[in-house]
């Protein structure tokens, strides 16, 4: 009993250490890659795979979030006669929290899973060893382009989700529930600051980097066989999901502290 707890603890610490080393190598290699135009085609290819193909699903996610917030919020606010402020409620939730987090979760499933499965299969069939045997660093060739692409594109995808979320809320609130359009936008504009949008997008960089790094790490350390690859994908998704929540929490705490000390409310418009 105690023995097994001990073994698990050692295993966990080992895993964290290995992941730490892998991440450090990834960061160093990615920074170096950004300075080498030779690697740009690889990054472009991954940007297409990761980004362009995710736009649709991310926009749908955003639109539904906006609409649902509007439906749920309307009755509450209407009973207090505050429905004109609904724009503020919806837009700030979408821009600051729901947009970034839901996009990240979406990507953890769509992109993270694909990364793990691809690299895991390459690992099992010795393709990663083959890259290595030809004198190319697999982290540089396989991991860095994926991490860079994911890191750069997650904020962009968040912008799309935010836009559609805002439009979705507008559609439900103004068009379906006949809230006064000018008032709706006015409250939104006064409430949502540049800071909020900035925080939301900055989170995106971290989410993107975390999803890709975890996905690649799990792929690189995947066990033999179809079952091994499947298991690695599941583990990658769970780990990414937890990482997203943890990063988000840290961000909220840190951002709030910074805001309270430094920001001198400069509102949009």
């Amino acid at each position: 009993m105690i023995e097994s707890i001990g073994r698990n603890t050692i295993g966990l610490i080992n895993g964290v250490g290995m992941f730490g080393r892998f991440s450090a190598r990834t960061v160093a290699t990615s920074c170096a890659s950004l300075l080498q135009p030779k690697t740009y085609p690889l990054i472009w290819l991954q940007m297409y795979n990761i980004g362009v193909k995710s736009v649709g699903v991310v926009m749908v996610t955003g639109a539904f979030v906006g609409m649902i917030l509007a439906i749920q919020g309307y009755d509450q606010l209407h009973s207090m006669g505050l429905e004109e402020r609904m724009g503020l409620l919806i837009n700030i939730s979408v821009v600051k929290e729901l947009g970034p987090v839901l996009v990240a979760v979406m990507l953890a499933g769509r992109v993270g899973g694909a990364l793990t499965a691809e690299l895991g299969t390459m690992n099992v069939t010795e393709q990663i060893a083959a890259v290595e045997s030809m004198g190319t660093d697999p982290v540089k060739y396989l991991v860095a382009p994926r991490v860079i692409a994911c890191l750069l594109l997650t904020p962009v995808l968040i912008v799309y989700a935010d836009m559609l979320g805002i439009l979705g809320g507008y559609f439900e609130g103004v068009i379906q529930h006949k809230i006064n359009s000018a008032a709706y936008w006015n409250y939104s504009a006064h409430g949502v600051e540049l800071w909020d949008i900035g925080v939301g997008l900055t989170k995106g960089f971290f989410f993107g980097a975390a999803i890709a790094t975890i996905g690649c790490y799990k792929g690189f350390n995947c066990k033999e066989g179809a079952q091994g690859v499947g298991q690695a994908c599941t583990e990658a998704f769970v780990a990414s999901f937890i990482a997203i929540l943890a990063i988000n929490y840290t961000f909220v705490v840190v951002a709030k502290a910074i805001y309270d000390t430094f920001w001198i409310g400069e509102s949009l418009l």
Partner: protein
């Protein structure tokens, strides 16, 4: 230059490798001479692939050391190894072709990683000639998924020799090929040795191939080298394990085990 010929190309010293508690290699020492073909034989699962991967630092020893010429390589980082690995070609047991790339792109991969390709025509010619060597010219635009097992193996071989490496490690080059193809591969290995004085290390189960191509044969058994010499020496080796292996006959103990295990479950 003269001294360069005397030092072994690859040198393995007191190599021990464990996976968890399983001891796979138990104190192996070998020096591989320049320009010679060395065959490594041994029963399935005895650690031939693992030994070969140590020679290019794809696996790291539990203890002991590995040298390329006079550089110690087993403790180098990925970056430091890049230059050394340019001297090697490695044929993986399973081929390890990149399945997102075509045959053509697979073969130019090692070239593309080394230098910027300027003269595309020249590269096309090179790929054509390497594929012709393994009898697969015309397959340039195919993806590995569309090739048979033996064809994949041959494309992988073409990729391994694409850069005219000085040292080529072949992991079972003839397994899964028909007898005629196998012999073509044997001739290819001999040709590379004669014309480019390549140093080859060949892991194989195919004794005909080993006797034909090898200047020296090593037999690995339970983590140790139990026989080491030229073809004639191995043929007349006194050890019964070696004799059984090269003749492909089953020992009394295995036969008894077979007899014990019924082929049908009685009801």
């Amino acid at each position: 230059m003269e001294s360069d010929n005397n030092i072994p190309v690859i040198s393995v010293k007191e190599l021990v490798k464990r996976f968890g508690s399983r001891l796979v290699l138990d104190g192996i020492s070998i020096d591989i001479e320049k320009g010679k073909t060395t065959a490594i034989i041994g029963p399935s699962g005895c650690g031939k692939t693992v030994l070969m991967k140590h020679m290019i630092a794809l696996e790291r020893p539990t203890s002991g050391s590995v040298y390329f010429k006079d550089h110690r390589i087993d403790n180098l980082s990925q970056k430091q190894l890049a230059g050394i690995r340019a001297n090697y070609g490695f044929l993986f047991q399973g081929g390890a072709l990149f399945d997102s790339l075509t045959v053509f792109e697979n073969i130019i991969f090692p070239i593309r990683q080394r230098r910027k390709i300027k003269n595309f025509k020249e590269i096309e010619e090179l790929v054509k000639s390497k594929l012709a060597l393994v009898g697969l010219d015309g397959f340039q635009t195919q993806y590995p998924a569309n090739l048979s097992g033996g064809q994949k193996k041959r494309v992988a071989l073409a990729r391994a020799i694409a850069l005219d490496p000085k040292v080529i490690l072949y992991d079972e080059p003839t397994t899964g090929l028909d007898p005629l193809r196998s012999d073509i591969i044997n001739e290819l290995i001999l040709k590379l040795q004669r014309e480019l004085s390549v140093t080859s290390i060949v892991v194989t189960h195919d004794m005909n191939s080993a006797f034909k191509i090898a200047d020296r044969i090593l037999m690995l058994h339970e983590g140790k080298i139990i026989a080491d010499g030229d073809a004639d020496y191995i043929r007349s080796h006194p050890d019964s394990i070696v004799q059984q292996f090269i003749k492909g006959t089953v020992g009394e103990a295995e036969l008894a085990a077979l007899r014990q295990a019924g082929t049908r479950t009685r009801t």
